[in-house]
Symmetry: C2
Subunit: 211 residues, 2 copies
Amino acid sequence: MKIAIIGSGNIGGSLGLIWAKAGHQVMFSGSRHPEKLDSLVAKATGNATAGSPFQACQFGDVILLAVPWPEVDQLLPALEESLEDKTVIDATNPLTPDFIDLAIGLSDSGGETVARRLPGSNVVKAFNSVGANIFQSESRMFGDQVPSLFFCGNDPAAKQVVATLISDAGFDPVDVGGIRSSRFLEPLEQLWVEILKSGIQQEFIFSLLRR
Amino acid sequence: MKIAIIGSGNIGGSLGLIWAKAGHQVMFSGSRHPEKLDSLVAKATGNATAGSPFQACQFGDVILLAVPWPEVDQLLPALEESLEDKTVIDATNPLTPDFIDLAIGLSDSGGETVARRLPGSNVVKAFNSVGANIFQSESRMFGDQVPSLFFCGNDPAAKQVVATLISDAGFDPVDVGGIRSSRFLEPLEQLWVEILKSGIQQEFIFSLLRR
């Protein structure tokens, strides 16, 4: 697939590299440091280019949105038209300006907010509550366990596409419903922060156990 | 320990039985059907009795609150005094009257609400987002994995007590911070509902994987 990365930081940059190495065509965009984009392209060994967010949205069939929340309102109006009919993966977290708390929740969510800003796109919430270290490592495996990656959205075809990309990234895709379920995936990021603050020494991830 | 069960339904009844079988002294209370309480006492093979919620609160050193949310406001004023200086495990979910959505969240939580109603108690949020089927089965194991049980509260000593009861119930206790973290544990129950609605055939639980 042709994947646009909007926000090539710890999450976007690392996921883009995973997908490039899995054989997808990736365009990185959105870094305050151009040399960062060049570095990602070099690491992607042939499957990646760099451009502006606008160029990336025109290039991509699937777009990963992985910018800090304050940039979402700045970026989306200019990108909206080039994102029509495309699948947009919302990996953002709707945090307060100090990055400490969720700014939206309970009767709304970041995912639903992004969906309202992009009414012509198919927004799927995913990748917002996994530590970047998991994406930056060689493998997603936890012992012999493939970790879960929870995702939600309203459009079944878009969710199929995202489920494939989740699998290609080494996770087990777990469908948690409509885009409204972003109200439950965004607090999961806060739970992740709390566990980090508790002083855990190992890498960790929330996963579904089944029996 | 002496454990009071307030609300002896699927969650409270099953947890009370687990703890009775683990050797704790349990008093069951709070069922619309008195014969249900008798049945639980019989299954507990010697370590349990039944009584009113008030009697149970006087009996217990630790109290498990596992009633539907609308009953919380009805019960707590009468129980508040007998719960002073005791550890109260809040296993409730602050749902809307139709039981569909969370009624509280983002800048408040059910756990913080219960803590405000019981200012003299040490409230610890736990057991609110695990399916009753897990408590009702012979074992908590998922293959060779001990599943996580997330808990939070403000008082370290009360959290130690609850961590012990979580272990005695067969789970790995995972501390997620102060009672404020109830804002992240209550949406986890909603995520549980979404996964159930997705048609999953197996029993499941959210757990922390570590590496």
